[in-house]
Each structure stands twice: as structure tokens, then as C-alpha cells.
């Protein structure tokens, strides 16, 4: 399923249109257009979409970590992209301050949980 950047996610979810969908493709018309980050996050966190969310369009390696943290699970990169450079981006930060789709708790909640454990 392809969704445009102005798709009404709440209406789609309420209508049951997301049920049974394996993959949702979200568009980056330009890599600086960040609407799809919010869409991916809402699909995961609020509408509990469990299938693949794929980043399409102007997808560059320096935004992949943001995409992954917002709920994307696959991306179509341009040909000839250095895979090692892409992997380096994922290896760099061990943690972030704010929560995300994969780890909803912010750093402070994670640290507090560790301390009380």
C-alpha cells in the first residue's frame, strides 16, 4: 500500500484499511520533507501497524537512523550507495535522549528503570 504524505491515517485505521496489509510505502518527495517520519511513527505507535514500512523517494543514508527510529523497517536507496557508510551510521550512537518507536521510553525512564532494578 502506498500512502501519500497527506493521507488521513486516523480515518484509514478506523476504516480497517490497514488490516492485512504487509507493507506500507511512505514517500520522501525530497529528503528534507519530514512528513513521513510522523506518519511512520503514528502507524507504529498509535495504529499498531506491524508490517513493513518502507521509505521511498529521496532516501539518503544520513537519514536512515531517523527513519529506523520513527518506525521504518526498509528503505530503497539509490544505486551505488556505500553500504559500509550506511552501517556506520547505525553503529555510532549507543542511545538517544528521547524515546522512539523501538524504545518508547526516554533515556531518563530507561536509566531510572536500571537504577531501581
Amino acid at each position: 500500500m502506498k500512502l501519500s504524505n497527506d493521507a488521513d491515517l486516523a480515518a484509514l485505521a478506523a476504516s480497517g484499511a490497514l488490516e492485512g496489509v504487509d507493507r506500507i510505502e511512505l514517500d520522501f518527495p525530497k529528503f528534507t520533507d519530514g512528513r513521513a517520519y510522523s506518519q511512520a511513527l503514528l502507524l507504529r505507535r498509535r495504529y499498531r501497524f506491524a508490517g513493513d514500512i518502507r521509505a521511498m523517494g529521496d532516501v539518503l543514508i544520513d537519514q536512515l537512523v531517523h527513519m529506523y527510529r520513527s518506525g521504518f523497517t526498509s528503505a530503497v536507496l539509490a544505486e551505488g550507495v556505500d553500504a559500509a557508510a550506511a552501517e556506520r551510521q547505525f553503529a555510532r550512537f549507543s542511545a538517544f535522549y528521547q524515546g522512539d518507536v523501538n524504545e518508547p521510553r526516554p533515556l531518563f525512564a530507561r536509566q531510572a528503570a536500571l537504577e531501581s532494578a
Binding site: G34, H66, R69, A85, F96, Y97, Q98, P104, P106
Partner: protein, 598 residues
Amino acid sequence: MYQYTDFDKQFVKLRAQQFRDQLERWERGELTDEQLLPLRLQNGWYIQRYAPMARIAVPYGEISSTQLRTLAHIAREYDKPAPELLAHAQATQDALQDAQPGATLPAPPLRYGYGHFTTRTNCQFNWIPLSRAADVMDLLASVGMHGIQTSGNDIRNITCDALEGIAADGIVDCRPFAEITRQWSSLHPEFSYLPRKFKIAFNGAAEDRAAIGWYDIGLQARLADDGSVGFTMKVGGGMGRTPVIGSVVREFLPWDQLLNYIEAVVRTYNSYGRRDNKWKARIKILVKSEGQKFIDAVEKEYKAIVELDGAPHTITQAELDRVSSHFVLPKLKPANLPAKVSPQGQLYQRWLQQNVRGHKLPGLKTVTLSFKRPGSNTGDADADTLNALAQLAEQFSAAEARLTHEQNLMLPWVHESDLPALYEAARALGLAQPNIGLLTDMIICPGGDFCSLANARSLHIGAAITERYQDLDELFDLGPIDLHMSGCINSCGHHHSGHIGILGVDKDGKEWYQITLGGADGSELSGPAIGGKVVGPSFTAAEVPDVIEALLATFRTLRKPGEFFIDALRRVGHDPFKQAANSARRPKADQESLAEQN
């Protein structure tokens, strides 16, 4: 000031490492200029008129002596143009000057080797080559500094009242809330590619000294009847081409809901803000065009975050306590240095009156060092000055200082008994002009000498006004006046909020200046935030100092005893001031004959 945790320190270092990796890939051609652009902006690196500009974040303006020394080192060793570049830049500026005979003012030469304090308490350098950017970021990271989100279409460096936590009229110390918000917004996965930049300011005192009405989100701390802390939240303020004052969306937002509600605002903006036109992309345009519909959408989103998403960013008391405990009250002891200054001397008394303010703690004062002085541009500090500031802060203020929104530097922990010795030391550095809040305490952007967005230069006008108003008797007689100047409509010099505003515009490749009257930043002196009104057609640079003089002469004639400029202007109305300003225009023939004489 905030003491970094090991995680914070490591985070900043990794960010510097990431930027080095990005720059190296760009140098190898793996990233295009266009692809690098937002990445370098999100680290504070612009490409300006002649060279890159680095904007270093100083959250809440708080800076240590160690950090000041690092800035001094960067100013000395890195903020240096190659001789050919400087010669080219100066020649280009000279040509601009020569193309406007009789219509302009003497221009100070392009300077280098200094840091520039901005209205958003950042520190900028103008001449560091991109090839040395990664080294500079490593150096900064070694003292807990960075340029994270000082530019780009993201949540920018967060600001507060310069007196946050130490103000005599303080209600709540907002620094911990600002820091919690700063951490939440840093490298935010969802909000790093917004339609446009997004600025948040906090104010924790009775008086609004953070200009919160002019921010994308402005937060005023409040205490409820039961003593609990909350915030009045304004959304959609901003300057630029369309000046707008923020609308109140919540009268009292409980403190623990701060991040959840900001998330709702920013998500609504990210989803619906315009992306087709740079000039209409700020949240203020969305708020203005949608009105109550926007507020309803935010409320709906907030409700969903709380009820459906589990509100994961609800701030806990433990987290507030933890972050608050990192704003360590430094060990305070007086310097007890000898001083020869006569306590009754007029200059010293004037300095006490203008530059020294009350403090929350008994026996302490805050002292503002004035960076509005002849022979130097507003807010500029060279390497020697930065080093001297580090030492001054160590001697007199527990090794801490604060950059202010008005582009000065404040010492926050000064013992009252040390004021004479501090005055002498500041005077020796040329930083004791008793002009804080007076006409020459101007806010000025770097303008067309450096900035690629600027339509006109601003520094030569600042220099001319500074020179003309050196008589302290006259300055004190004129009383408090906010004079703000921007070199273009992007309004970095906050001209909209000046009692007198000056805006540089470009007409046929020549520099012109619009004068506005009656703007307010929201302070007690200025009254509720509002944009100034244009007096008429724009003026040449050469006319601007005469226009200022005419406005002030009108004020002197019309004022009641003890009345301030802004109050007289509001009481009398703009008309007599407009007439005075327009009478200061030079006939075209005069300008031409002046040009011949020159």
C-alpha cells in the same frame, strides 16, 4: 550552570565524530553540496558571503571560564581568513561602499579573530574554513560544547531569560525544564526535517525578559494556587517578513506535560505546515491561517498522545530533581581584591545604576559587561577579550558567565563587596560602559558585511550611532531606549521589537533602511510584545543617524518630566515622530554635491 553527565559528554563527542564522517564523505564526492547542506546546518555550519560561519550553542547563555578559553583559542587559531580571501572580501565590500557615494557611512574594516554573541545566546565565528570544521567541533566537544541544531529546519537551541534562576523577581527556575526540553529535542528522529526552523523560549520571572511572545513556542512559568508549577504556552510568534505575536494555547500546562504538549504542537506543524514557500513555512503562518482549528488539532493530538500512546515523555519528579541537581550552585566566595575607585564617583554610580542588578541570593549581584563600545562591533569579543572574560569570571563569578539576549555578557555570581574591584577590571578591558538598556545598547545582526542573506550592512550604522552618542549625560537624559537593527527581513537583529527599529533593504543594488517605531519585546519597560510601524519610505545609510537624532529631539520636546521614549511615543502617537524622521531626509541634490566633495 548545567554539569554534563558522562552520557551528555559522550553524546557531544559522537556528534562531532558523525559530522567529521559527513564532511569526509562530502570531500570524497559521496555527498553532494545539497545533501550536506542540512547536515552541516544542523551542526551550526553556514556558508556565508565570503566564508563559512560556525554557530556554537550556548544553552541558556551559560558558559564557563574553561569554555570561554576554548572559544578564545578558536578565535585566535581558527577564525582566520587566508590573506587572499580577506583581500577579496575587503575589496568587494569597498566596491559596495564606492558604489554609493554620499549615501553611505564610513565602514569599519572587516575583522577576524573573534566570537560574536547573538540574540539567541549563540557564539558565532565568521572565517573558519570548512576543512578545519571537524577539528573545531572536536575541540568544542572536549569542553561540552557543540553546534547541535543551532541552524536547520529543526528545534533550535533553547533560550531563557539571562537571569533565569537568579532573578530577584524569579517565580520558577526554568533552566531544568529548558534542559529537559533541549535533551528531548536533540537529534529528534521525527522532528529533524520540519517545514522550517522552530524556536522555543522559557521565562521564569514576573517580567518577560526572554521575548517569549516572539517565539514559535513561548513558555511563561506560573504557580497555581496550590503551589504547583505550570506554563502558559504561546504558539506561533515570530519575526521575519510577517511579524506575529504568539497565541496562548494553554493558560496553565502542568509541568509534567511539557514534552507531551510540545510533541503535539510540533507534530501538527510537521504534518500541516506549508512546505511550498519558504516565507510561509513557519508555524506562525499555520496558526494565523487556521486559528482555532489549529489549536483544536493540537488539543486532539495531545489527547491522543496521552490516551492512546501512553504519554511516554511525561516528565517524572525524579527526572526533574535529577536535572535540577545538575544545575549546581557554585561555591561562592568574594574575591576581596583591592580597588581604588571612588564609590561616589559619577561614572561608577552610573555603572551601578545601569549594569548591576539585584540577585535572588542576599549579598550577591549580577553585573553586565557591555559589548557596545566604540571601535568594536556589537557583541564581538576577540581572543584576548575572551581570555580576559574567563579570568574575570573566575575571579568574580565562580568561573561562570552568561551571554544575554541583548548581546552582552553577564557575570551571575558577583559579591556586592567586589563591585568596585570588578568595575576597575572591567573598565581596564573597555567593558564598563554604563550603557546597559540605553540607546547605544543596540541589538545588531552582522548584516551585509558577513551574512549572505543580508540586503544591507548594519555594522557601519551601529558604529556611527555609537560614535555620535558617546556623551553619557545625553544618554542618561534620553533614558532607556531599545534600538534594534537587522540587515534584512529575516530579522536576526529583532528590528520588529525595537522602540526604534532599523531594517536594511535592497533597492537596485543599493542599501536602504526602513525605520519602524513602537515595537516591544514584552519587557516591563516596553509593554506587551508588538511589532513596530514603518515611518515612511526608506532612508540612505547616511541619513539614518540624522533620523535617529530627529526622533530623539522630538522626544525631548514632547516628553513629560521623567517620561521614557516608548511611553511618550505611545501617548503622543507616531505622527510628530514621523514628520521629524522625514524632515531628516537629505534632498537628492545635497547628496550628490556631498559625493563630489568626497
